[in-house]
Symmetry: C2
Subunit: 316 residues, 2 copies
Amino acid sequence: MPATKSFQKHIQFLRNDIEKAIHQIPLDKSPTYFYDPIKYVLNGKGKRLRPILVHLTGQIFSSDPEGLMKAAIAVELLHNFSLVHDDIMDEDDVRHGQPSVHKKWDNASAILAGDGLFVLSHLILTGLSPYVHQRFNEVTLAICEGQGMDKEFEDDASITMGNYLVMIGKKTGSLLGLSAEVGALIADGSKEAAHHLFEFGLNLGLAFQIQDDFLEIYSSESSMGKSLGSDIRSGKQTALTILAREKNPDQWSKFNKKKNSILAFQSYFESNGIKKETEKVIQHYIDKAQDGLNEFPEGKRENLNQFTTMILNRTY
Amino acid sequence: MPATKSFQKHIQFLRNDIEKAIHQIPLDKSPTYFYDPIKYVLNGKGKRLRPILVHLTGQIFSSDPEGLMKAAIAVELLHNFSLVHDDIMDEDDVRHGQPSVHKKWDNASAILAGDGLFVLSHLILTGLSPYVHQRFNEVTLAICEGQGMDKEFEDDASITMGNYLVMIGKKTGSLLGLSAEVGALIADGSKEAAHHLFEFGLNLGLAFQIQDDFLEIYSSESSMGKSLGSDIRSGKQTALTILAREKNPDQWSKFNKKKNSILAFQSYFESNGIKKETEKVIQHYIDKAQDGLNEFPEGKRENLNQFTTMILNRTY
């Protein structure tokens, strides 16, 4: 079931507000070496999903709009900091359909731009409660740990689905968790409510990332904005490759990952039941995310359910 | 006049306490990809000058020792974050006499280690006042801007001494300023006192950095821990090269910076009065730093004067 028209209008409204706020971040002109790459990133074509989520949960708690926007922008900058640095580490040359920072400039510029986005994200939080700062830092540490695991897991055939879920939980899930949680924190909501919202975002993040792995095989290059199968070929762990290995290690070890076509991957995963199993895992985490929302009255959780539908249908 | 014996004993005592606190930072074992380089950095041979300064000014205000140690460790981690990332950007392969992180591991590991040191520095500040957080972030932004200017200025013959002082003020001075200031902030000292201390640290940082430029020409490789003249040859601005250019642009433009020996540099700077002029500039900022301390009663500023002597004599 697609998200309703009125919800989509609401999202468009929020996104415009967020874009406006991002463009109002006071940034000096010089040194251009430092600020130009940062402006390039902030003018990029990000979908602003995380700040939208901040607003959606904040509205449940009638949080102070100014504090909410601060947290929303801070989450988006934190996300961009990690993308800019990850792109250097993973040698990914395209981001949101444009050259990544280290490709357009160089590694030094991209390292510094990432650092700057990180500091700006913290400066924007100025005035919010110490606990909000603490949660930002705890989640950033988790993101760094997740990226460390991602690099450590490359080409390691002993990685289990359990290891993988921990990794993507830290790398992708924790920031969506924070985005969902922070609206409650700003309104001084109960820690219990904040925790439920974090779990919602975390599970949504797991579903989203595993679906990303899925779409890297069963999608089109134009809709993904990158070449299909690139993660697998570069030795990254993905849900599908781990499930394939766990199901039939011998057969999978004989399948040539560097040379086989994307069609060969598709047929392997389909005939071995990996495609179906992956779809089941995705559904499992969608259900878990939505179950967590049952704590909230139906009227309040409606927007978060619609958000879930929207991001998993990739209609944003 | 060298620092007194009792002061040196006091410093040694502080340094031991700081080392102990650094080794008690709770760090997980895994992912080793993330934590091993961080531990390598923290076990390095840093002189801990910044956290020592935090303690010395904090003691003037009888600041809460626990908060003081948090701020001291946070400053040291922030310093190390910037060193690890700067070493990648500047392709410096040696730090404190050991391979720098990107040399011992690789760029990806070093980017992530720097990020981690930055986050940990913030996490350690948890519980201190919002204004302390704000000052940390403002200074970190200044450090990033300073590094951006440093890169931007490379090989640019139009850079003036004024430009250069702004750059090193941000890159080196601001963190020494913060280190001097934070002890007052933790004790809820007046903003005026905090400002005077920031100015003290800033001017001390300027003197220290210009002296560093000086020692890169008039020192020995063993005491500097790097090859003499390397900054100049890599196209970095230094106080001596700018003064030489400003004094006699034609003559300086004919002097071959890439090929001339360190002895040729020494004799050029000496015969053109650049050596003397640089010494004068260093003394100017030492005087300015110490003048700023006159706001404090003599007994209180004594340790800071001794600290100034110690770091400029490089007897730490």
